[in-house]
């Protein structure tokens, strides 16, 4: 149980979340103001809250507080929280001018009186802040209940955002799909949590780690615990759009407004990966062994073999199905949805490699991914065709002629998503694949590299169609969105994809905080006695030479 003595440091660590909650309340009130100017300032206040949260998260984080809070990854928040807040600022921009467009237009022209029940800009941004705050809370989770509540705080607002973001029936359908399937995934990981509790007798994450370590040193983690872990992983796969829980992604991303899709592609994913890192951290990447029928222990490095196998298969299938799926799309949003699936596959490699190198690389990749995927979604949000979102390759053919900046940003983000140097995507992949290679995951790296090559097929189409293809009849009627902010966001992210790599070294160093201090407070040291060697089918790949 959490004692009073740990309350103080923990509150200090939660300061950024509190700032975001305050911001969310403020934004939802301002959003109901009768003054159109005040309502227009909502995104600004949202950005102020996020920047303040980023600032506070850096300022209030101290080593003492983090270690007193008894977290599995005590320093993870000091990298993840600023990253969430700063990418969050970028995610606010594409929605400006799109939310409440019809209602605000009617009010401005006098066709309709202001009605507090019909404007939802405040709600939208408040939910966005709540969701980001939830993702931040995950970094401080010290027990499974907290983990569960924080995950729900990430997800519930996003269901509403999908429904609110766009007035069409498609968005409603997407929201309903997303909600029901999300509820299914919640049920799954909650059941997993229950099984873990059954196996270890505690909800405290540090306690679970100690219990698992004790089991691993003895007869191995028991069936209940392993099943619990696997169920929880599968449930969380929904958040990160990984196989077998990825089916919803193309439908939901396509149905949601494009700025909401951008949000879905980043924030729930960060939340899912933080939760997965914490859960897998309880089992740990060391101290496991195969126990043969004659009782001989063969120790190996890596996750418990069943867990490793599940993640391994899921990672391979996720990147492959994501890329193959994207190959077949005619809709840009669906292409980007599948691309988001495949990137999750790459990032799962980081989970398999584990702390410290794999987890660091994973969070560095998330940052890179956030920048480049936001660039592509924002570029789409910067355009429209007869009041509708731009969503087919025909719409962007020859875009260079009339919308050169947007066309270039789309191309840059696509090239970066392939992972071509010197773009930010290259450095993300480099760090991730290098960590995997170093830990002996050669097969996984090879599969990921082949997948990257395959992905060039559709990403380069996204780069070539706007730049090289002749304008089509459809693309001739594409105009800029009413607000310039989505285009500005696209330019910032696109230019960022080129410039951020200049600081690659420093960012990589910063990302090392993600796993700094992991395993420091472990009570039971892993028993490394007995013959070492390759384990089973999947852990053989985990064994260092």
């Amino acid at each position: 149980m959490m004692g009073m003595e740990s309350m103080g440091p923990r509150l200090g660590l939660l300061a950024p979340e509190m700032v975001l909650f305050a911001g969310a309340v403020l934004v939802s009130v301002i959003g109901l103001s009768r003054s159109a100017g005040m309502r227009r300032s909502v995104p600004l206040w949202c950005i102020v809250a996020l920047v303040a949260a980023a600032f506070v998260s850096v300022e209030t984080w101290t080593q003492e507080r983090a270690s007193a809070a008894q977290l599995l990854f005590p320093s993870m928040g000091s990298f993840v929280k600023p990253m969430l807040a700063l990418v969050g600022v970028l995610l606010v921009l594409p929605g400006i001018g799109a939310i409440d467009r019809g209602v605000e237009g009617a009010i401005a022209s006098g066709r309709q009186a202001f009605d507090a029940l019909r404007v939802m800009r405040g709600e939208h941004y408040a939910f966005a802040l709540f969701s980001i705050a939830g993702a931040m809370l995950l970094c401080g989770a010290s027990d499974l209940i907290w983990l569960f509540l924080a995950l729900e705080l990430v997800s519930l607002p996003t269901y509403i955002m999908v429904a609110l973001g766009r007035g069409s029936r498609k968005a409603q359908e997407a929201a309903v799909k997303y909600f029901f399937l999300g509820a299914l995934s919640t049920a799954l990981f909650l059941y997993g949590f229950a099984l873990i509790y059954g196996s270890t007798g505690t909800l405290q994450i540090a306690g679970i780690r100690d219990a698992f370590a004790a089991q691993a040193a003895g007869p191995g983690i028991d069936m209940t615990g392993l099943a619990g872990l696997c169920l929880a992983i599968l449930g969380l796969c929904f958040k990160i759009t990984a196989v077998p829980m990825h089916f919803y992604a193309p439908d939901v991303y396509e149905g949601a407004a494009v700025h909401v899709s951008a949000f879905l592609a980043f924030v729930p994913k960060v939340a899912g990966f933080v939760a997965l890192a914490v859960l897998l951290g309880t089992a740990g990447w060391t101290g496991h062994a195969l126990i043969a029928a004659d009782g001989v222990r063969v120790a190996y490095t890596g996750l418990p073999e069943p867990v490793a196998a599940v993640l391994w298969m899921s990672a391979v299938l996720t990147m492959t199905l994501g890329n193959v799926g994207a190959l077949m799309q005619r809709s840009i949003k669906r292409t980007l949805a599948y691309s988001s699936v495949s990137h999750s596959g790459y990032m799962m490699i980081g989970l398999i490699v584990g702390a410290p190198a794999g987890i660091n690389a994973l969070f560095f990749y998330l940052l890179c991914y956030g920048i480049m995927t936001t660039a592509s979604f924002a570029a789409l949000a910067a355009l429209e065709r007869s009041g509708e979102e731009v969503d087919s390759f025909d719409d962007i053919a020859g875009l260079r002629v009339r919308h050169p900046a947007v066309a270039w940003m789309l191309a840059i983000s696509a090239v970066s998503l392939v992972g071509i140097p010197p773009m930010v995507g290259f450095f993300g992949k480099l760090a991730l694949f290098m960590a995997a290679f170093e830990s002996g995951q050669v097969a996984l790296v090879a599969i990921a590299v082949v997948n990257s090559a395959v992905s060039a097929w559709y990403y380069l189409r996204l780069a070539i169609v706007p730049l090289v293809a002749p304008p089509s009849a459809r693309s001739a009627t594409v105009v800029s969105a009413p607000s310039r902010w989505p285009a500005i966001c696209a330019v910032v992210c696109g230019v960022g994809s080129v410039i951020v790599p200049l600081a690659a070294s420093r960012l990589l160093q910063a990302s090392e905080r993600a796993s700094e201090g992991y395993g420091a407070g472990s009570a039971v040291a892993g028993d490394e006695s007995g013959p070492k060697g390759s384990g089973g089918l999947y852990t053989s790949r985990l064994t260092r030479p």
Partner: protein, 728 residues
């Protein structure tokens, strides 16, 4: 093999970071030029900004030179890439930071790169003035980008940043060759330059990869340390591949066999570009790279011999082609290829000093030659055909241009006691007598090439500047300019295909009706201050380039300045003057005396033949050509040389056509098999599957839920199975 001497290790100096300004200034100027283009600026601002930025850059380098302490310095600008990891049991790292490596070789190269860059920018401010507006901004943007990239290339402290600069200069070259992008020939030339360079760049990239995988670093400092200690056993095939791959990159950038074909076509660019990028600076990047990597080449004698043979062969081949071209700029382009061949010959026979010195003198006189050719074009309606220009020295306003071109021609012909004579002499001398690196056969080839050089150089000068006054504007160019600028005075750069002029052009230019004033309302446009001033400065520079040697001869200095500059750098291995002790002999004479005699004979012999055929008795040149053409046994000589020995055609049939056919097949496969059958087919697959399974689920939502649940069930079953097999 190990290195003969160890290389001084560099010290890290944060306090010298102001040297980074040399890189920053051209970048800022590029941004300003782009902004001026965006704001539709129509004045001479871009030229002014670029000239000031490059001048400031030159000043920074000059100050760095003044304050240089004598040991190499690494100047960190900021950290870019710095990875380290342990793999396969050993610790590895990949560091390529934005840092500058400053030693005398760097400073030497940067001094003439920034200095000439500034001068040529001033020249271009007048030369390009008819394009004021977007084109003017675009031009100076290209020049700024070029200078920034060239600075990165020369000053970087690691091979990755060098590669970045290498690609940057390639891009600038592409953009500027294609400056007149409405002209198909210019677009084709730009593409050709870019694609041919890609082949070389692939070699450079692979070489860099191999250097990293063998020596674990791409930073010069640590690489040189590894080379001094590690050496090379001869058994490591991948190590012995490195110099050949680097060489390929150098041959691409510096237009050597087999990758030289892009440079003559690159003359489609505006003349200041030809002078700056395609004569004086960018094309010497290959020479710089090999000089910089000399400690590595040092370990591979066979690679150095290859460099020497390629260089000597290119020098000869290009000279023979240059003898038969009618386009002034093309002649100079082939002479550039030929002179670059000399530089590689110098590197290959172990004298980096001779190569660097020739680079230095060549930069001046070749820039001078191109700029004088540009002034002629600028003044005579884009005319470059030496058969249609004659006696221009008598045209008012062109006297300075003519005399300056004479200086350039004399220097290119290696007039004894001129700067270029000293540098070329050093190369040939090294080829004869430089210890076990010497390849005397190449010395004879280089001497013969020197005679050919003198001939083709003065063929141009005698034809264009002496004899009866006769000129006409280029009709194609005039039509182009009239269309583009409303009959404004025309200039620009029009590449001629010499072969197409072979049949009719020849007789026409010697017809009777082509006298002065042939094209009625055409008036030459004499150059003004910016052009004449720069020409005179470059002429003085070309003369002064011999100063290092004059000072030695006068006993004021103990060694050549360029040699002193190289001696303190990583390229010092080959910096010693061969035969300095007068113990070597050629044909029984003291080596230096023999070179003076042989070189003088080659130069004056070439000039004399040119004077006879192209000044005193021009008819005999035609007679000689007709005689050669009439004899079936000698027909191939003039025809082959005029058609550039059919190398372009050879590449077309052997490389381009098969690649084109392959490309068509790929494109067909892409459209009909991949895009058609696979993508569209697969695209229909989910729909078909959906239709198949819909009755089962009753809707997509339930369908997804059932699929997810099925996946979870499968996974769980699998986990249980694994657990029962003993995996925990």
């Amino acid at each position: 093999m190990t290195l003969a001497q160890s290389i001084p290790t560099a010290t890290v100096s944060e306090s010298m970071s102001w040297v980074g300004l040399a890189l920053l200034f051209p970048l800022v100027s590029a941004v300003l030029c782009a902004l001026m283009a965006a704001f539709r600026f129509r004045g001479k601002g871009p030229a002014l900004v670029t000239a000031i930025a490059l001048g400031a850059s030159f000043a920074v380098i000059l100050r760095a030179y003044m304050t240089y302490s004598g040991t190499p310095v690494v100047i960190p600008i900021f950290d870019w890439i710095d990875f380290s990891w342990s793999g396969g049991g050993t610790f590895k790292s990949f560091a390529a930071n934005m840092s500058l490596y400053v030693d005398r070789l760097t400073l030497f190269w940067m001094l003439f790169v920034t200095g000439l860059g500034t001068l040529i920018t001033v020249y271009a401010s007048e030369y390009m003035e008819s394009d004021r507006g977007a084109g003017y901004c675009r031009f100076f943007f290209g020049i700024s980008i070029f200078l920034a990239s060239m600075t990165a290339l020369v000053m970087s402290d690691n091979l990755l940043m060098l590669y970045l600069g290498w690609e940057g200069v390639g891009l600038a070259s592409y953009l500027l060759i294609g400056y007149y992008y409405t002209r198909p020939s210019a677009v084709a030339a730009a593409k050709k330059a870019f694609i041919v360079n890609r082949i070389g760049d692939l070699g450079l990239a692979l070489g860099t990869f191999l250097i990293w995988s063998n020596y674990g670093t791409v930073q010069y400092d640590t690489l040189f340390a590894a080379l001094s200690s590690g050496g090379w056993s001869g058994a490591d095939w991948d190590k012995s591949l490195i110099p050949y791959l680097l060489m390929l990159g150098a041959f691409g950038k510096s237009a050597q066999i087999p990758l030289y074909v892009w440079l003559p076509d690159a003359m489609e660019g505006p003349t200041p570009v030809s002078a700056l990028i395609h004569a004086a600076t960018m094309v010497t990047a290959g020479v710089y790279h090999i000089a910089r990597m000399y400690p590595l080449f040092e370990l591979h004698p066979d690679a150095l011999a290859t460099v020497a043979w390629i260089g000597g062969g290119t020098a000869l081949l290009a000279a023979t082609i240059g003898m038969a071209q009618y386009d002034m700029k093309r002649v100079f382009a082939y002479s550039t290829i030929s002179q670059l061949g000399y530089m590689f010959l110098g590197l290959g026979v172990g004298s980096t000093f001779a190569a660097a010195y020739h680079t230095f003198t060549h930069a001046f006189f070749k820039a001078l030659l191109f700029l004088t050719a540009g002034a002629v074009m600028h003044g005579f309606g884009g005319q470059l055909d030496i058969r249609k220009l004659s006696g221009l020295l008598k045209v008012p306003g062109f006297r300075i241009v003519g005399w300056m071109m004479l200086v350039g021609c004399l220097w290119l012909s290696a007039l004894p006691y001129s700067a270029a004579f000293f540098s070329k002499d050093e190369i040939i001398l090294a080829a004869f007598i430089n210890g076990d690196r010497a390849i005397p056969a190449l010395g004879w080839i280089a001497l013969g090439t020197a005679a050919l050089t003198a001939y083709y150089t003065f063929r141009v000068w005698f034809r264009v500047w002496l004899g009866p006054v006769r000129y006409e504007p280029d009709p194609v160019e005039m039509a182009h300019m009239a269309a583009a600028h409303g009959a404004d005075h025309g200039h620009g750069d029009h590449g001629h295909d010499a072969a197409s002029h072979g049949a009719h052009g020849h007789s026409a230019s010697h017809g009777t009706g082509h006298g002065h004033g042939d094209s009625h309302d055409f008036h030459p446009h004499a150059p003004r201050l910016a052009i004449n001033g720069v020409l005179v400065i470059l002429g003085i520079g070309a003369v002064l380039a011999g100063l290092p040697n004059y000072l030695v001869m006068a006993g004021r200095e103990s060694e050549n300045w360029v040699q002193w500059m190289l001696a303190g750098s990583s390229a010092y291995q080959g910096a010693g003057v061969p035969g300095g002790d007068h113990s070597h002999t050629i044909l029984g004479m003291d080596a230096h005396r023999a070179m003076l005699l042989l070189g003088g004979c080659a130069t004056f012999g070439g000039i004399a033949v040119a004077a006879w055929l192209h000044l005193f008795s021009r008819a005999s040149a035609d007679r000689l050509r007709s005689a050669l053409l009439a004899n079936p046994l000698t027909r191939w000589i003039p025809l082959g040389a005029e058609r550039k020995w059919l190398v372009d055609e050879f590449y077309h049939w052997v490389l381009r056509l098969p690649l084109w056919i392959g490309g068509q097949i790929m494109s067909f496969a892409d459209r009909h098999v991949l895009d058609g059958a696979l993508v569209n087919g697969f695209g229909k697959l989910p729909l078909a599957l959906g239709r198949l399974f819909r009755p089962l689920y009753g809707g997509p939502l339930q369908g997804y839920a059932v699929t997810m649940a099925g996946g979870v069930a499968l996974v769980l079953a699998w986990v249980v199975w694994m657990w029962t097999r003993g995996a925990h």
